[in-house]
């Protein structure tokens, strides 16, 4: 939670109006990642591991500048590195990969455990391992391959958008550590404004395909059906997000997750209750087949 709930209304002995009083504040938070200014320094990776108190795990070297193939249960923030050939040139694409904090979170929809996943009104989707049962349905529901299972604790972990820091009025650790200013943090409205401004600048510099990645946002988002995300990207080439380390072009909560958590759940529940009631009514109408008594009478 942000410290929006600690907005000052009145100050004792204060000359004039209290600061901020009467000014409406946006409550939802957003991280803006400008991939065009990321230099792949991995400061955010280190800051994330450090803030969340994990040991630095072993890395995998496969001839790229990527620390490991994908995020891990104790490594929530990974700079994806991709080498892309262009007309007569070469591009190094760096993208900070972490939880996207979807407005319509597939993990939360799929999760069966009471209280294991919560979505705050500021947009942060957070896991509560105390209530996690380790079924990994969240993995099933996530279009971004983010939740990761720890085989020792049998719990699932992911980026919290530093809900503990944000709740205390601080920016997330990754934002704090970024040396190039490619990471921004603020209200969703402000971040969208900043992103559009940057895209305009990129376009005027000849990057005609630059765009914002904010899948499914009802107020002008990129393709997708997850209601927008609380992590948005500026992409140098928004036509093909896939080339930025497998960013899905149009993410959605899987159809079968919705069918299972929607109609199947209701039909199943109603069906079981109707079945039990149905056989009870059958008994009331027809009763048992009393063979012993009936046959004796016949004989």
């Amino acid at each position: 939670m942000s410290n929006g709930n600690l907005e000052i209304k009145a100050i004792s002995g204060h000359n004039g109006k209290s600061a901020g009083n009467g000014v409406s504040r946006d409550y939802d938070v957003c991280k803006l990642i400008d991939t065009t200014t990321c230099i792949g320094c991995k400061a955010c990776e280190v800051a994330c591991v450090e803030w969340n108190g994990y040991e630095f795990r072993e890395t995998t070297f496969d001839n790229t500048y990527q620390t490991m193939p994908e995020t891990a249960w104790n490594f929530w923030n990974l700079i994806k590195f991709n080498e892309v050939e262009t007309d007569g040139g070469l591009q190094w694409l760096m993208r900070k990969d972490q939880c996207m904090h979807c407005e319509e979170p597939g993990c939360l929809i799929a999760c069966p455990a009471d209280g294991a996943i919560v979505q705050y009104t500021n947009g942060i989707v957070d896991f509560n391992q105390a209530n996690c049962i380790g079924c990994q349905y969240c993995v099933t529901g996530c279009p971004f391959n983010i939740p990761k299972f720890n085989e020792a604790t049998k719990k699932v972990y992911k980026c919290t958008l530093c809900s503990d820091r944000v709740g205390a009025g601080l920016e997330p650790a990754c934002i704090k550590s970024c040396p190039t200013g490619c990471l921004h943090f603020g209200s969703k409205e402000d971040m969208k404004f900043e992103a559009e401004k940057r895209v305009k600048q990129l376009k005027s510099n000849g990057h005609d395909n630059a765009g914002v990645y904010n899948p499914g946002d009802p107020n002008g988002g990129s393709p997708g059906s997850i209601g927008g995300t609380h992590v948005i990207y500026v992409l140098g080439d928004a036509r093909d997000p896939e080339k930025y380390g497998g960013l899905p072009a149009a993410p959605s909560v899987p159809f079968f997750v919705k069918a299972w958590k929607g109609p199947l759940k209701w039909l199943g529940g109603i069906g079981i209750m109707a079945g039990v009631f149905g056989v009870f009514m059958h008994y009331v109408r027809f009763g048992p087949k009393e063979v012993d008594k009936v046959e004796e009478v016949k004989r």
């Binding site: 994908e70 799929a110 069966p112 455990a113 009471d114 209530n131 996690c132 049962i133 380790g134 079924c135 990994q136 349905y137 993995v139 099933t140 529901g141 391959n145 299972f149 085989e151 049998k154 899987p254 159809f255 079968f256 997750v257 069918a259 299972w260 199947l264 759940k265 039909l267 199943g268 529940g269 069906g271 079981i272 079945g275 039990v276 056989v279 059958h282 008994y283 027809f286 009763g287 048992p288 087949k289 009393e290 063979v291 012993d292 046959e295 004796e296």
Partner: protein, 221 residues
């Protein structure tokens, strides 16, 4: 062959009664029944928030997630053994078709319209095959759901389909389970005794499973 297997008595059968299930059949049935009940209740707890309280009753949510697949293997093993014991008795006989056609009369207790049946009637056979095939589907989908962390990322698209099929198949077995329990406990008095103590009255055998009764007793009435 249409009469079905004769259960060798393992305990003394009272006068005017016949052996219906031997000890092995009863034991496998009840291990299977306990395992199925656990699987159904824990599965429902994870399936719908309405039943999540069952998770606490049965030992805690993370605990049931751990045990559900292991108990599933016990269920699977007993299904396998029951199939070995009963598969001959579960084959279709010519009378079954007429039995199924007269299902309405059976449901309305007008049993005089029903053709004679072997060790199991056509409805019991259908129940058996439904449970057997559903068990096979639950096994395949269940293994995937047990260890999704071993699944390569490229195959993650099957996970939602797998969970959906597992849930839908389990619901089919629950429908069959409700009918099975209702029929045995309420509709046909004597059936629970048959599965617990092993024997039934001759009247019961003659009425419900005439062909089987004639075969095991050699009597014609």
């Amino acid at each position: 062959m249409s009469g079905g297997t004769i259960a060798r008595p393992t305990t003394a059968v009272p006068e005017d009664e016949v052996q219906r299930y031997n000890f092995a059949e009863r034991a496998y049935h009840w291990i299977n029944a306990i395992a199925y009940t656990y699987l159904m209740l824990t599965g429902l707890a994870i399936f719908t928030p309405l039943a999540y309280w069952l998770a606490y009753v049965l030992g805690g949510p993370a605990t049931i997630r751990y045990w559900h697949p292991w108990i599933g293997l016990i269920y699977l093993a007993t299904i396998f053994w029951m199939h070995r014991m009963w598969k001959r008795d579960m084959q279709k006989i010519p009378e079954d078709e007429r039995w199924s056609k007269n299902l309405r009369a059976y449901a309305e207790n007008r049993d005089e319209l029903m053709p004679p049946q072997g060790r199991f009637n056509a409805g019991q056979k259908q129940f058996w095959w439904v449970m057997l095939y559903c068990t096979f589907i639950l096994l395949i989908t269940g293994i995937i759901m047990w260890i999704p962390e071993k699944m390569p990322r490229e195959l993650h698209w099957v996970l939602p389909i797998t969970v959906f099929i597992h849930s839908a198949t389990a619901l089919i077995t629950i429908a069959a389970f409700i009918i099975h329990v209702y029929m045995s406990v309420w509709v046909t008095p004597g059936s629970v005794k048959a599965m617990v103590e092993g024997h039934v009255s001759t009247n019961w055998a003659r009425h419900h499973h005439r062909l089987w009764y004639e075969k095991i007793t050699g009597r014609r009435n």
